[in-house]
């Protein structure tokens, strides 16, 4: 597993040739430094890889770095410097956008640690919701068929009502998943603070991954219900 702090060191400053300890700017000549390929979003913002972030603190860091890295500062700079600042400021914005949203934040952490890959998410119904999912899909099919057949208004109204109620229920389980994720965030942060070993961290990440899969499944379900209901209106 890679840890960000060991990989962000650039040997020497491209501009003045002095040793550069891996900051945004050279400590000696002040020139903006190239971005190492594997700088992670947390490290970029000067944060440990912890998940229970304070949004106000995150915004302060984002604004402080924006003052320094935004392309406004480099309009009159050399082409090379403009390129470097563009790369850094876009990374800053990507990092802030990702870390501000709790779901995107944990997804990013898991992806960065090689625990979650695009297209590998399981699209299976969570076992505890299996029955409800089955009923919901049935109602969805009935509604689609009733509409395709120009079915009678009362039947469709009844189905819409059933669907709305089900969607509300799933919305609640979504809130449940979010609460679970929140607890896992705190557990993760404590594990980091306690210097937990790779196995312990891996176990936590697997639990977070499972929660994320459940979350994305339910979200898709709720979205398809909403789409169907809007068409019904």
């Amino acid at each position: 597993m890679t840890s960000a702090s060991t990989t962000t060191i650039t040997a020497i400053c491209w501009s003045c040739g002095q040793p550069a300890p891996g900051g945004h700017f050279c400590a000696v000549c002040g020139k903006v430094q190239p971005l190492p390929r594997d700088t992670d979003y947390f490290a970029f913002l000067g944060l440990p890889q912890k998940l229970a972030l304070d949004p106000a603190d995150l915004e302060r860091r984002f604004h402080a770095l924006s003052w320094k890295l935004h392309p406004d500062n480099f309009v009159r700079a050399s082409e090379a410097e403009r390129e470097l600042s563009l790369e850094r400021s876009s990374r800053l914005n990507d990092a802030y956008r990702t870390l501000l949203d709790p779901t995107a934040r944990v997804e990013y952490l898991l992806a960065h640690e090689g625990m979650r890959r695009e297209g590998q998410q399981k699209q299976q119904a969570p076992p505890e919701l299996l029955e409800e999912v089955f009923e919901l899909n049935e109602s969805l099919d009935e509604l689609r068929m009733a509409r395709a057949a120009g079915g009678d208004v009362e039947e469709r109204a009844r189905l819409s009502k059933t669907l709305s109620a089900a969607a509300r229920k799933f919305q609640d389980s979504l809130a449940g998943v979010d609460a679970e994720l929140k607890k896992l965030f705190i557990a993760w942060d404590q594990a980091i603070d306690a210097g937990a070993d790779a196995t312990a961290r891996r176990a936590l990440m697997e639990r977070m991954n499972a929660a994320l899969n459940r979350r994305s499944y339910i979200r898709n379900l709720v979205a398809s219900v909403h789409k169907e209901l809007t068409e019904e209106c």
């Binding site: 915004e59 604004h63 402080a64 924006s66 003052w67 935004h70 392309p71 406004d72 500062n73 309009v75 009159r76 563009l86 790369e87 400021s89 876009s90 990374r91 914005n93 990507d94 802030y96 956008r97």
Partner: protein
């Protein structure tokens, strides 16, 4: 190094502004017609000369097939996009217009960026005349909801006008900057910008930090085809229908008359912003009487209400993206000439539950903001920082024509995304990439930005690892770069824009425009000199016909007649300098006549006053 300015390249009017060092505030440059508003109209004279602004507007009525307005609506668009516009605007498109429109004006053909470049050049000239020095760098504003192709077309226009475009800034954000100078505030701000052709809504968060104020755009939405033009077109369609019904006159065959009618209706629209009722008197073509119509504000508002309502959807979406309720907005700012319409103001006030700001002139505020940003970039002395967003999600086409979003809308720019590509079959030599912009799920419903092919060294399937970096810069324009991770080499990609001009084409146009510049300048001088001469001659004839002309000494009268005749003769020629000289001679000869006229007017006014006092 010349001056740096801010330019609002508008649908109806364009303006140029600068940061005034004396007052520390941005100011608009007043043009030669005593207003900072340059009509965004370009006309090609039969001689080949290009007229821009007020002189071009005069030709809208007489030379409508050689004159183009609202060209901003055509920027960065293909022929399929503008079918609706073509019904409303008398543009004649040349063939080969599929991906870049080519507009025929007289016997010359231009792309929209070239036409916009004429407007930019005209504004640049205003500023150079005003400063007495060269202007070579600029910030240009664009509607926040402009897509990549529309932004590129705007930047191309700047290049073609010989300007270095330091940055494209979104119009509502520029307006917020101008307001920020006006009065320091912090909180959430909604900027509602209804211009001549476009509608934007931006939600901003203002934050005071130790370094200065940050203007952070949270979300933006809009409609690049919604504005005052739509109000005008609606009025025009109604009026034409009424004229056909009541008088049996079809205006289809009379483009000049349509422009005349359009002008009268726009005047009526303006009247109804301050009056409750107004009237339009329109002489029907070929002397078949006149159409006289009274409009009330209530009637006008009932007609335009659906158009005004169309702005509310984007406002709601912008608020939803910013995760804010209307009541959480601390300030509302109105921008754009169309926000003078009382119904628009009422609707915005009702929606947000607060009175919008209208302190700054809605026509000028965007240009002023552009000047502020230009100054920030130029001077490097900053106490404010603008963090803007990209209005549309960026995606790439995947299997089955589905779009995978890689940079979501409302991401702070610059923004980037890295994607890894590999081969699907053995000995595949290229990977085709299709880049799109938009919110829909399928590629066919999104805006195609570009296509390119990644070159892959031969090998087994899945071995290649090509990393493509998509980067949206601070102007909202996409850059693409690719790296072969196995070979460790940077790959240069030739990105074929789906809509817009290639680099080579722009270079060619630049060369051509430089060749034309000298000729255009002379032609333009000639036309302007002739116009002025014509105006002076007409005024002189009128003056000579009045009573006071009797008081002229015979020698004085003779001098005027001779100067007039000489001027007329020169006007037939092509020497604009000679026309100018003879115009001066005529002006000198008519000094006494002008004096007589003035005395007469003065004594009449005094007499009137005395009578009134009795």
């Amino acid at each position: 190094m010349g001056k740096t300015v801010g330019i609002d390249l508008g649908t109806t009017y364009s303006l140029i502004a600068y940061q005034d060092p004396a007052s520390g505030r941005p100011k608009c440059v007043q043009g030669p017609y005593g207003t900072p508003l340059c009509p965004s109209i370009v006309s090609v004279d039969p001689d080949g000369a290009i007229l821009v602004g007020e002189p071009a507007r005069r030709r809208l009525l007489t030379q409508s097939s050689r004159t183009i307005y609202s060209v901003k609506r055509l920027m960065g668009r293909g022929i399929a996009d503008v079918q609706d516009e073509l019904k409303l605007f008398p543009f004649e498109l040349a063939p080969e217009s599929a991906n870049v429109l080519r507009v025929r004006l007289g016997d010359r053909v231009f792309t929209p960026p070239e036409i916009s470049a004429f407007i930019l050049r005209e504004l640049r000239q205003w500023a150079e005349q005003f400063f007495g020095e060269a202007v070579d760098r600029t910030v240009i504003t664009v509607p926040a909801y402009f897509n990549d192709a529309q932004r590129q077309a705007t930047r191309d226009a700047g290049r073609l006008a010989g300007l270095e475009v330091l940055r494209l800034v979104n119009e509502p954000t520029a307006a917020a900057l101008a307001y920020g100078l006006h009065e320091k505030r912090s909180g959430k701000v909604a900027v509602y910008d209804l211009g001549g052709g476009t509608f934007d809504i931006s939600i901003l968060k203002l934050v005071s930090t130790g370094e200065g104020d940050i203007y952070q755009v949270l979300s933006t939405n809009g409609d690049t085809h919604l504005g005052g033009d739509d109000l005008d077109n609606l009025l025009l369609a109604r009026a034409r229908a009424e004229i056909l019904r009541e008088h049996g006159v079809n205006l289809d065959a009379h483009p000049e008359a349509v422009q005349e009618l359009r002008k009268s209706l726009i005047r009526a629209k303006h009247d109804l912003s301050s009056e409750d009722r107004t009237a339009v008197i329109f002489d029907l073509p070929s002397g078949s009487g006149s159409w006289v119509r009274e409009f009330t504000r209530a009637e006008f508002e009932a007609w335009i209400a659906p158009i005004v309502e169309r702005t509310i959807g984007p406002v709601k979406m912008a608020l939803a993206d910013a995760k804010l309720a209307p009541s959480e907005i601390d300030e509302v700012v109105l921008v754009g000439g169309s926000t003078r319409v009382p119904l628009v103001r009422r609707r915005v006030e009702e929606f947000f539950g607060r009175r919008p700001h209208i302190e700054l002139n809605p026509d000028e505020v965007v240009a002023l903001g552009a000047a502020v940003q230009a100054d920030i970039l130029e001077s490097g002395v900053r106490d404010m920082l603008l963090l803007d967003v990209t209005p549309l999600s960026l995606g790439i086409e995947t299997m089955g024509g589905v779009v995978a979003k890689i940079i979501p809308r409302n991401s702070t720019i610059p923004a980037s995304a890295q994607e890894m590509f590999t081969t699907g079959v053995e000995s595949q030599t290229g990977i085709d990439i299709h880049v799109l912009q938009g919110e829909r799920e399928l590629a066919k419903d999104c805006r195609s930005l570009a296509r390119f092919t990644l070159r892959v060294p031969p090998g087994p399937a899945g071995l290649a690892r090509i990393e493509v970096k998509f980067l949206i810069d601070a102007s909202g324009i996409l850059q693409v770069s690719a790296k072969d991770l196995r070979a460790g080499t940077q790959q240069s990609i030739e990105v074929q824009p789906s809509y817009g001009l290639g680099d080579a084409e722009i270079e060619h146009m630049l060369e051509e425009s430089i060749e034309h510049a000298e000729q255009d300048f002379t032609e333009r001088q000639l036309i302007e000199a002739r116009n002025e001469a014509e105006i002076t001659l007409t005024a002189t004839q009128k003056s000579l016909a009045r009573d006071q002309a009797q008081e002229l000494a015979p020698a004085e009268r003779r001098a005027i007649d001779e100067a007039s005749a000489a001027l007329r003769e020169a006007m037939a020629g092509r020497d604009y300098k000679l026309i100018r000289v003879l115009l001066e001679t005529l002006n000198a000869a008519t000094e006494r006549l002008a004096e007589l006229q003035m005395n007469r007017a003065l004594s009449e006014a005094l007499e009137g006053k005395r009578l009134g006092q009795v």
